[in-house]
Amino acid sequence: MSQEAIPQSGAHQSRPQSGVATSASGAVAQSSSFIRKHLREYGILLALIVIMAFFQIVTNGILLKPINLTNLILQNSYVIIMALGMLLVIVAGHIDLSVGSVLGFVGALAAVMIVHWHMNYVLAGVICLAVGGVIGALQGYWIAYWKIPSFIVTLAGMLVFKGLTLWLLAGQSVGPFPANFQLIASGFLPDLFSMHRFNLLSMLLGAAVVAGMLFLALRSRFRNRASSHDDEPAVFFFGRNLILAAAILYITWALSSFRGFPNVLVVMALLIAVYSFVTNRTTIGRRIYAVGGNEKATRLSGINTERLVFLTFANMGMLAALAGLVFAARLNTATPKAGLGFELDVIAAVFIGGASMAGGVGTIIGAVIGAFIMGVMNNGMSILGLGIDYQQVIKGLVLLVAVIFDVYNKNRA
């Protein structure tokens, strides 16, 4: 173990005798090398905590009030949903600039179908998701099979769907939606136990999630131990998991004592879990990382890289459509301006979360935390009554600092 703790760089590796350390100093060296290796992952979580603590103090505790927490989640749900797809796109070495316009377009389509044509809202929702998938697939087709740069294809898509949104809505806002449709964004889990001002179902669900998470984390840790592979030092492992568990429990309690879990939160949590699993543990996830890391080598390993890129964009389109439905339901109207500039928030979230422009690097959890960092800052600055001008400047600088930190970290390693 002690040898493995010595960082080795460039061509100067692999002389075993140079890495001998006593076991006592080995443990320390192991922790410090572990921090160095995973600085980015802990750094971003720490940044989120610090930012939240800061706004909690300067807003006199408003930030973490149940009603504001609920708002925070509802406000950022569509960014997070799209960030999941964008992470895959960026890991595969591409970019999608069209997601804001697609979100607006799908919202408009839903409004036209439901409000004007009186279509059943479930059917309309399914059609909208399919349309989003087709839009993504169309763009993906040119990118994957014709090798047209994704920047250009999706820039074109951004203009096209912005235009089509205007056309669909004839420049007007369309609404309101039927109450059932609105529940997507403004509904909460039912209060099965009908306790006074406390949603026990949500609380139980949150507790179950925490228990499940801890169980899975411990199980994977002990499995790794059994096969004696270098792992997170215990302090970090328990520290990280306890903080996370405490945070989820607090949020659960706070939400339960307000109106319970918003429906969107449940959908979002499920999506995060599924996409984390896909990226970490499945062959398709592994292949997406490989394509972004070295497309030629991946193709020569017998992997159909074109199809993979195509699917990543189709998936992105579908998630943008889902976000479009959530957004339209939340505003209870489809407007020509919906989704304007959202692509930039989504892309910023993914990069703050540690993804690399060159592809091959990034995590779902990072992207989600990145989205929350942006969201907490938006929310906190709005509570403080800071002007939109300052808000933009500060958000821009946060993105820049996050990426500079990444590059600095990489060069030093």
Partner: protein, 512 residues
């Protein structure tokens, strides 16, 4: 002869590693000084210290150039003094012309406006000096690697070079181009320019070098007078690896069985120039337990042959038939070729073989993910077992299987590529330049792996530009030239002269 360069007691450390440990290097005026050592011995680090890539203050020791102590803070400083380094990976801008490349950053200009007349005139003079017959306006991307190397040297000459450093200049050149390059070094020497030559090719070194310094594990082990008759290749190799290599190739006892893999009438056309046949009606076969070599010059079409067979990864209008155990197989995609039991390890491991920023553990199963997954879910435990197993079996030197392959030496990167293909379970393994750019010790290990694989009954094809290597590891040889197979012989009956004469004679026949 006066001393042009003296590096005294150079020590350079990286966190946790001593890269250079009190190295002394002395270069006389007008000599060719060879620097040899295994990959990771510290040659490149030493040259980076010398050229200012690692600035003064980041290392200990003294650099004296022409008797003056130097404190370079960057490449620009060392270039100003006439120390020019030409890296292994060429630093030319492919879409610019020869002239533009030569004067890049040093443009012949008045007030920011380029004087093209002067630029082209000077370029012509420089090209004449290095013996390159190309117009100054030619795009660099239109030149072969050998000519690009000459452009690099012309660029160095444009800066009034006093000390030229060449890092593995011939590693990607064919024999003719290498020869020309080495002769050029000798001309420079006659003109009073000193050179430091980093190379793995001992025959080249013994041809041109005056002095040889051997580095090992960050220390200068010995400085030999290359012209003295007492210095043998064996001495140099012993100093490099710290042990004597009684034999450069592992012993083998080939047990050859039935034909496994056969290719007949294989033809492939150039992807852009469809009328050009890059592979022209080639047929060959490989038997179980047999190592077959394909010899030929750079550009003979060997890589194109292999890649066109391996899932049509190269070329257009491909025709011909591939059989395994006498049955025709479909190799129209890489996936199908692998499924048929054919694997191809590329000559360019960094661009085509590895996901460099990823770990060893994740690179090895890439060509056979189903081997570590249940359905689509990856079993991380099995993945670790597989990586650990190959790490031990083919001796990949690394701090852990979680190490990123970009940080491995060339030889160990090559082993990761081999592990990837071995895990895919091939019956036929095509190895394209399996030892390019790796050191003597690691080469021996790669040869051992080839021998072990053949002993387990696999059919192996080795494509190599190093003839001694082909003669050392193969059982049977094909000779390829200009897209066609022009000879076949058992390795026992082959010699470098025989192979070269086959190539030359076939060339004449084609033209006549």
């Amino acid at each position: 002869m006066p001393t042009i360069l003296e590096m005294r007691d150079i020590t350079k450390t990286f966190p946790g590693v001593i890269a250079l440990d009190g190295v002394n290097l002395k270069v006389e005026e007008g000599e060719i000084h060879a620097l040899v050592g295994e990959n990771g011995a510290g040659k490149s680090t030493l040259m980076k210290v010398l050229s200012g890539v690692y600035p003064h203050g980041s290392y200990d020791g003294v650099i004296a150039f022409k008797g003056e102590d130097c404190a370079f803070s960057g490449i620009a400083d060392s270039e100003k003094r006439g120390i020019i380094i030409i890296h292994q990976e060429l630093a030319l801008v492919p879409l610019l012309s020869i002239a533009e490349n030569i004067f890049l950053g040093n443009e012949r200009a008045k007030g920011g406006v380029i004087d093209w007349h002067d630029t082209f005139a000077r370029t012509r003079a420089l090209l004449a000096k290095v013996g390159l017959k190309e117009a100054p306006q030619t795009r660099v991307s239109d030149l072969g690697l050998g000519k690009q190397q000459l452009v690099e040297i012309a660029k160095a000459l444009s800066k009034e070079v006093k000390l030229l450093i060449l890092d593995e200049p011939t590693s990607s050149l064919n024999e003719t181009d290498s020869e020309a390059l080495l002769n050029l070094l000798l001309e420079f020497k006659a003109a009073g320019i000193s050179s430091i030559l980093i190379s793995h090719k001992l025959n080249e070194i013994s041809k041109v070098a005056d002095t040889i310094t051997v580095l090992r594990d960050g220390s200068a082990i010995s400085t030999l007078d290359a012209k003295a008759s007492s210095v043998s290749e064996a001495d140099i190799i012993r100093d490099m690896v710290g042990r004597s290599l009684s034999d450069r190739f592992p012993p083998r006892d080939p047990r050859i069985g039935e034909t496994i893999f056969a290719v007949s009438n294989w033809t492939a056309h150039h992807p852009q120039h469809a009328e050009r046949k890059v592979v022209d009606d080639v047929s060959f076969h490989v038997r179980a337990g047999e190592v077959v070599g394909i010899a030929g010059l750079m550009g003979a079409g060997r890589t194109e042959l292999a890649m066109s067979i391996f899932g049509r990864s190269y070329g257009a209008h491909i025709s011909g038939e591939v059989t395994m155990h006498g049955r025709k197989v479909d190799v129209s995609t890489v996936h199908r070729a692998i499924a048929a039991g054919i694997c191809y390890a590329t000559e360019d491991r960094k661009s085509y073989g590895l996901v460099l920023d990823d770990t060893i553990r994740r690179n090895i199963p890439l060509a056979h993910l189903s081997g570590i997954a249940n359905g689509i879910v990856i079993d991380e435990h099995r993945e670790r077992e597989v990586a650990t197993d190959y790490r031990q079996r083919i001796r990949i030197k690394c701090s852990s299987i979680g190490q990123e392959v970009v940080n491995l030496s060339g030889g160990n990167q090559q082993k990761v590529v081999l592990a990837k293909w071995l895990f895919a379970g091939p019956e036929v393994l095509i190895l394209d330049e399996p030892t390019r750019g790796i050191d003597v010790g690691a080469k021996y290990e790669i040869y051992s792996i080839i021998a072990e694989l053949a002993a387990t009954g696999k059919a192996i094809v080795v494509i190599s530009s190093e003839m001694p290597e082909l003669l050392g590891v193969t059982d049977r040889l094909y000779v390829m030239n200009e897209g066609r197979f022009v000879g076949e012989m058992p390795t026992k009956e082959a010699s470098q002269e025989k192979i070269m004469s086959l190539i030359i004679r076939s060339g004449h026949r084609n033209r006549g």
